[in-house]
Amino acid sequence: MNNRIEYWVKIPIGPIHPALEEPEKFIITLDGERIINVDVKLGYNLRGLEWIAMRRNYIQLMYLAERICGICSFSHNHTYTRAVEEMAGIEVPERAEYIRVIVGELERIHSHLLNLGVVGHAIGYDTVLHMSWLAREKVMDILEAIGGNRVNYAMNTIGGVRRDIEEKHKRAILDMIAYYKNEIMPKIEEIFLYDPTVEARLRDAGVIPKRIAIEYSAQGPTARGSGVKKDVRYNEKLGVYPDLGVKPITPKEFTGVIKGDVFDRMVVRVGELWQSMELIERAFDQMPEGKIKAFAKDNLILLKLKKADGEGIGRYEAPRGEVIHYVRANPGKDIPSKWKAREPTFPNLFAVARALVGEQLADVPVAIASIDPCLSCTDRVAVIDARTGKRKILMEKDLLRASIEKTREINPKVSVKPEVVGIGCPRGDLL
């Protein structure tokens, strides 16, 4: 047909969306059901941390870095201290390195359990959400017992850790691991590896091919799910991790195939739960006695760092991927001249956005941070007529009318008026 009208429908998801973890905006351009472009707009939660950091000293920065993220708070703090240690050439006592491993892996367990629950929720398995978040409480209690807080436990300091892990903590952690291994992991494997409904829903959804994962530098489970064998703990010979035998986990070891879809990413997370528990057990076996920090007092750190010159990079495998921090000294001052952090979600977002092109709209929810876009909440839809370039904003009422007209084509007896039920989105009136 010659006078076929092409519709490009733009659907904004975010910045504020009930299911989004963070305020970010995705503008999805659709041609029918097929996605032809995904645009990401960030900055709705821009707190200007780097700008604040221009006025903070090394010790204060540690706590500022911790507040970048609530879930990976240990990771940022840890990576920042590694960057400073590399810059100033500070040696960390071995026991402190083991404590860092233990707390880091505990954090990975809680973050992965959280994500497994969120994905279960996104596909409508709320029982999975409740189960995995209930299981997560156990590790949160342990973290609270060790660090005094459920999040932001401030374990690290430059040149070591601030709190020791005592015999009672060790007992509690080993109890927790036994509980997870015997009661939780079989259930989680049953759901995420063998359940036919979950497999049908997550298989081939939001596929990130290996080529795109490499090209767009995807990180963490997103990259490993696509078959990119990299894990900073392994690549970087980080701390004492090589002694514990860490290896990147890919879905190949569990299911035998790598497809790079949401299912594979979940398989990687399940595998990393097992890996984290083993790492903690091995760390307890090998942990030596001794000092936990290189400096007895915080002011000694500042004295040492005032003399430092040079630059350092810290890298760490956070639950979501590689965290990288850069610090450059400012000789004679206790304020670094530059501190820069990069979190793994930043490249992952663009990798996912690129990978969604050509997929169906129905794959967006599980692919983008396991969210479920509530299309009835979509306040407005802009339709651009490809021939004339005219732009028309459709309100909720117009959509309803169009929908009713389509129903009438099938069944002419329908006689309903397009009425908006409920309050609707007040912002729809602004445009």
């Binding site: 690549n235 701390g239 820069k340």
Partner: protein, 173 residues
């Protein structure tokens, strides 16, 4: 490929100022730091990409260094071997001509970092495929770059004007 071999390969082709650092962790870890002029910069990055086609682009660290702006690029090469190769390539541009070639066609993932550095430091990336803003709001004043330390940075009156931090002259009453 070890850091030393890599650096030799680079030095055969390019005149660069480079060093290898080593940290004092229980397992020592080497990094290659390369300093290159911006005229040769893109060529060097293409050469690195040829050396390892799977190279991963990690971060651009832009900084206001007084009279010039610097940009440091961290790359990870050969990440399938145990100590992967961690390379930092630094380049710089003067403040009155803040131009650095864009790497959008070599490493597609670099575009988002270039957009970030463009809005925060005012470095113009020549040939960037997508020059829009990424983090800053669309109504943020032009010509102000928050991470600059000179008069193009954030002025104290912008900070005091809480609630409307970027509307000069205060909120309308």
């Amino acid at each position: 490929m070890t850091p030393e071999e890599f650096l030799e390969r680079i030095k055969e082709k390019f005149e660069v100022d480079a060093r290898i650092s080593e940290n004092k962790m229980p397992h020592p870890r080497k990094r290659v730091w390369i300093n290159v002029d911006r005229a040769k910069f893109k060529e060097l990055m293409k050469f690195i990409k040829e050396t390892d086609p799977k190279a991963q682009f990690s971060i651009i660290i832009g900084e206001d260094r007084g009279d010039y702006l610097s940009a440091e690029y961290h790359l990870e090469l050969f990440y399938e071997q145990e100590p992967s190769l961690s390379v930092i390539v630094a380049t710089a541009c003067p403040k009155d001509d803040p131009k650095i070639p864009s790497l959008g066609d070599v490493f597609p993932s670099s575009v988002s970092y270039e957009r970030e550095n463009k809005e925060f430091l005012g470095i113009e990336f020549e040939g960037i495929p997508d020059p829009r803003r990424l983090f800053l709001p669309d109504d943020f004043p032009e010509g102000i770059y928050p991470l600059r330390r000179d008069d193009k940075g954030i002025k104290p009156e912008m900070v005091k004007n809480a609630g409307h931090p970027y509307r000069l002259g205060g909120a309308k009453k």
